[in-house]
């Protein structure tokens, strides 16, 4: 269902943004390109959903923004991880791994039996 997918996407999107910014400052478009590429276009998300996520993360103090100039000489808003954001990413990423793995294992089970 669409709602389920949106919720799932929102929390994973936050983590992806933090991951993207761990390489260095990026503008919103750059982040969306990176996410698309890194997820091999498997996440079918509307590009616009990225921006509320960015603004929310900024309000929570995990990323900060600054106007700068893009590669093609346009004025663009660049986002950067704060130290709090870095800490958050380091704490969150392993949790996500374990979570995803646990669900994947469970979904692969073929019988009702318990070991």
């Amino acid at each position: 269902m669409a709602d389920t997918e949106t919720d799932l996407l929102r929390s994973s999107l936050d983590l992806l943004v933090l991951k993207a910014l761990s390489w260095g400052p990026m503008h919103g478009y750059g982040i969306s390109e990176w996410v698309e590429e890194a997820t091999e276009s498997l996440l079918l998300l509307e590009e616009g959903t990225l921006y509320p996520a960015l603004h929310r993360l900024e309000r929570r103090g995990w990323i900060t923004s600054e106007w700068g100039v893009s590669d093609n000489n346009r004025r663009a808003k660049f986002y950067r991880l704060t130290s709090a954001g870095r800490a958050r990413f380091r704490a969150e990423a392993p949790l996500w791994h374990r979570h995803a793995q646990a669900i994947a294992v469970a979904l692969k089970r073929t019988s009702m039996e318990t070991a």
Binding site: H27, G28, Y29, S32, E46, E47, G48, T49, Y51, P52, H55, R56, E58, R59, R60, G61, T64, S65, E66, W67, S70, N72, R74, R75, A76, K77, T82, S83, A84
Partner: protein, 891 residues
Amino acid sequence: MNPAHPPGWRRLLRLPLGARSIQRDVDDELAFHLAMREEKLRRLGLPADAARAEAHDRFGDTSAVRDECLTIDRQYAREVRLMEWLESLWSDFQYALRTFRRMPTFTAVAVITLALGIGATTAMFTLVNGILLRPLPYPDSDRIVRVIQSYPEIGLDTWGLNQMNVAMYRDRATDFASFAAYRGGSVTLQGPTGPQRIPIQRVTSEFFRTIGVGPAIGRPFTADEDSPRKNTVMILSDGLWHSRFGGDPSVVGKTIDIDGQPYQIVGVMPPHFAFPRPDVAAYVPMGLNPLWRFGFFNAGIGRLKPGITPEHAEAQTTKIMWDWARQQNVAHASVDPSKTRMKTIVKPLHEALTGASARPLTILLAAVTLILLIATANVATLLSGRAAARQREITLRSALGASGRRVLRQLLTESVALALLGAVVGVALAVGGVRMFTHSSLATLPRIHDVTIDGRVLAFTLVVSVASGLLFGLLPAIHAGRVRLTSDLIAGQRESSRGASRRVNNTLVVTQLSLSLVLLIAAGLVLKSFQRLTQVDFGFHPDGVTSIALPLPQRVASDARRLNTFVNAVLSRVRAIPGVQMAALASAVPMSNDGDYDGFLIGGRAAPPNGNEGQTYRIGVSPGYFQSVGIPLLYGRDFAVTDDSTSLRVGIVDVSIANRYWKGAEALGKRIRTTGDTTWFTIVGVVGTVRDGDPALPPEPHLYQSLPQVGDNPLSLVIRATASNGSVIAMVRRAIAEAEPAIPLDDVKTLTSVIDQTFATRRLTKLLLGGFALVALLLAAVGIYGVMSLQVANRSREFGIRLAIGADPRALVRLVLGEGAVLAALGVVLGIAGAVAVTRSLASLLYDVSPTDPVVLLGLPLLLAAIALAACYVPARRAARSDPLSALRAD
């Protein structure tokens, strides 16, 4: 700090915080994304308009995204602004504290002044809050009402309920969810340690349901126990349970000896239950007899059904009362009760309990508010003296780029910080003061046990102190905030700005003087009426008289012969004790309110249309009573031992009754009776009138009867002794115990202390108001002293020069005194005007003193003016001693 913000968050201040720039940023950011995408699609070969459409399509709902971002950013901006504001406020506050540390004397004086004002205000508000504002501690207490009756035509403005009234309101007033009645009394509790007299309440069974609080252990009374012979059950108060039964829960169900009869304990009330009075030791069913038409001693309480007003219940119960009166012929047959002012009075219980204290408390709260204003003005003066000294610092900060508003805020933060320091000390003072007060003998106010410092009091203190900080900060701060840079950075240009601060200070001094005069005059009026009141002739001589309550065992009281024997035995034994001048027994000692009120009729006169001649206070006394208490016997004779149950019924009236129907001694031999009795009493003596209640009210008519002929119980022994020392009382106790051992003798009072108690609330008002007026006077004197000192210090150069060129030092003294006199005169005139305007509201506290009493209205202003001038004299002398050289050296 909010942990959501990283330490370096202030860098974010470079972010747009204004509404318009937030919008522009979001629009720019989204446009950049769309443009980049469109460009990339075009590079992949899409035509321009297809590329734009595809970019928008992949982006999703642009306006929804925009709105969401805007909402987030606006919230964020708000948070950042708030944090910034709080942070700079905090830094201003810290700066203020550093400033205070640099000037400890100023800070101490200001904090102490404020602490006095704020502490007094907090303490007073604590009383007002606990007594008047806080709801009674019973569930849905706003629905509980007290029911009494009124019949002004027969002299009964307030009148209790008889048992028949109680039963009919209980059974017929549908406005009440439940209705009960109570009346005070006392019983003798026999125990292993001897008899103990305890104050009790006799209640009907619905009492606990109506008040909404039941026993913590055991059960309430049942409807069955309302019946007269089934009422031998008792519910203990928590206090008696602990003091007498050691808090043992198994006491419930046990039987104890009350007035010689076995009573079963069925319950224990929870701690702190204090209705109708905190000293109630136990509750007993009154044994309601619905046919009993006498003894209007009960108060009713009702719990109104939801949505019913007390007025509605009053109308309903009044109608029930009229029906009853028609049937009983309470009013004379020719007058229908609906044509009289006979009615019930149904008032919210809270108002009924505390109504009489509302006015004194409100006036005292107003008085402390004046003190706080005076203290605030004092600190404003202090601050303005300092503001002049700090002019250069402020000018420097302004020059460094601080806006006028910024400087103003810094100064106001300082004042509020000062006020908060004052509040901390003030609350500590208030806590101590309130605790001392509620534990003292002065604390005779209702609900005093409910008085504590709670959240509302602290909130009040916070508001009051911040307001006072803003107030005293504002006057000098506005002035300082207006400092012009150019003129002030040039040193020496100080006098001009001082002109302005002087006007501010003069205004403050005049305000202080007039406010303190208002308080002084109010206190003076109250003080004078108190004096008048204590000089009132009570009609008896209380000095050296002690009364001991003597509740007689029923077997003695109900048997005329045994009573007579007991009375004669006790009196002869007690009178034989050395040091005892006279002793007597009476059913009520003066001011005790233990006697009965009853209508009376005069023999040979037809009964008036309303059924009686008026109300009389009826007391049964033994021979020697008038001599013991010091009431003069004007005509005829005192009662004699022979006036007993076997002889002619005799009475003694006071001279007000005698002169109303006859003239003095002509009353002797005439007959009088009460409406509650059919026996006529022949008047054998006439005595002086006695004030037996509120001394501010005129004396009431008294009818005395011979004790053995009326058999009252309980009695009091009154003793006039040469020395009211403990050994006489000890011998008296022994003498009584020899005559009858089953009488508890714990209630011993001197008559002067009983009179003192009737003055308690007035004395309290007088003491507090007088104390407040003194504090106000002191503060105002300090205020005018401070201002004149400041002005003399500011003008020391001018004075020095004047002296150097040969001015007479005495002329300088006169100059300064003259300026002080002008301020004092202005303050006095305004103060008198203010006093005349407000003392009208004091009228109900005054006795025999007009609110515009000339002695008070002229004498106290003179006193204030004299004190103000005295306070100016010290700085004036200083002016005359200004050193010409140091003045010239200044700057």
